[in-house]
Symmetry: C2
Subunit: 207 residues, 2 copies
DNA sequence: CGCCGACCATGACAAATGTCACTGCTCTAC
DNA sequence: GTAGAGCAGTGACATTTGTCATGGTCGGCG
């Protein structure tokens, strides 16, 4: 309040790919009013760093090992007074829904023009929200997940190359039970194999 | 030879993700001896731009629509006197092999530290080669692909959620024949389902 | 030539997967 | 309290997938 010099936005970046992390730092440090104060390569250390540095905004990649962007966002927002922007390669409707539920302030796909990212961060730092309009529209037209928890469990494991028996063992269920869940999920999603069903559910962001 | 001012390296960047493209530009433009002269979001326009701009080095992402990094590299190197560096998220041994066959000069995963990228580009511009040591070692220990052409065809299609019958139709074969190819591929790769076999072959970069 | 090996192709059989009908159990909501 | 929804399981059955034995074709090669 003493003059026209605005305090710059302190930013934390998390992305598992070193190259991307460095490149984003370089890009955003070019902005006079943004200062990258830290970076992490997974969700767990991102949460720790956020607690330590108390940045104004955290830019989190969705796809990360250990804890993904949503998990990290949840941890960070429950312990630190900061804003979170999620960046993602696969912007799926269900993921946006979960991100908003986690009280994230911004959601942008990696296909966003680089010039816009700084503006998004400024908006978010100022207390506004920014949701990529494309994804928002898709999410609004996409129907809500019709699957039960157990069906989702079975589908999740079906994305790997496990057999039905292996999935059953993992879930502590009988093989026939798992087949039933998968079968009903396939019916609901209009899929012709459990793999197709798992793929569809993944695309929707339900698993 | 007239003084200590070296001509800067003219660089072309291709990556399908706008954000990454912009961030890499920002990162590399920070280097005093590197100048980003153009960027493209797919392999086809990368090849066209390279022909037009004749850059010293092309930095190509492997995963791109239209034509992927390898295809773009082949086109570029057959028409323009330039060097190519491939950047990739999934650095698989077989892909490195194909990249080298396409006379690419550099091969780096996206997990490379950002600071190193500029050095790689300088090395390549100077006529040297740079191969990520980690991947090189893996590629040398990995055995050569034991699969026949038809087996690879069948595996490629098995990565989607098609049924065996659909694959057979696509390849103009009997269903039983396709099952045989998949079965023998599974034996060779020690997999327990065609999906697992397709996954393994993909990880090796054979398909 | 005649034989070999590699690849391609098929049909018969076995095992895994998907479908359906039905039985309980435990919640929650009306 | 009882109807509905989700969860867990069973058994019978059809379909799909994986395995195996077998033949065909083609290009080397002695």
């Amino acid at each position: 309040m003493t003059g026209d010099e605005t305090r710059s936005i302190r930013l934390l970046i998390a992305d598992d790919e070193h190259l991307i992390r460095g490149a984003l730092s370089a890009l955003l440090n070019l902005e006079p009013d943004i200062e990258v104060v830290g970076s992490a390569d997974n969700g767990v250390s991102a949460a720790e760093l956020a607690l330590e540095l108390k940045p104004d905004v955290c830019l989190l990649d969705l796809e990360m090992p250990q804890a993904d962007g949503l998990e990290a966002a949840a941890r960070i927002l429950s312990t630190v007074a900061t804003k979170v922007v999620i960046v993602t390669r696969h912007a799926r409707p269900g993921v946006l829904r979960r991100a908003l539920a986690a009280r994230v302030s911004g959601f942008v796909p990696k296909s966003t023009p680089a010039e816009e990212l700084a503006d998004v961060i400024r908006d978010v730092a100022a207390g506004k929200r920014y949701i990529d309009p494309e994804i928002a529209a898709t999410a609004l037209t996409a129907e809500r997940c019709p699957l039960t928890d157990r069906e989702l469990d079975a589908l999740r494991l079906s994305r790997s190359t496990m057999s039905v028996q292996e999935i059953a063992d993992r879930l502590h269920l009988a093989a026939g039970t798992v087949r039933n869940y998968l079968s009903s999920a396939m019916t609901k999603l209009d899929a012709r194999s459990r793999h197709e069903a798992a793929e569809l559910a993944w695309q929707q962001g339900w698993i």
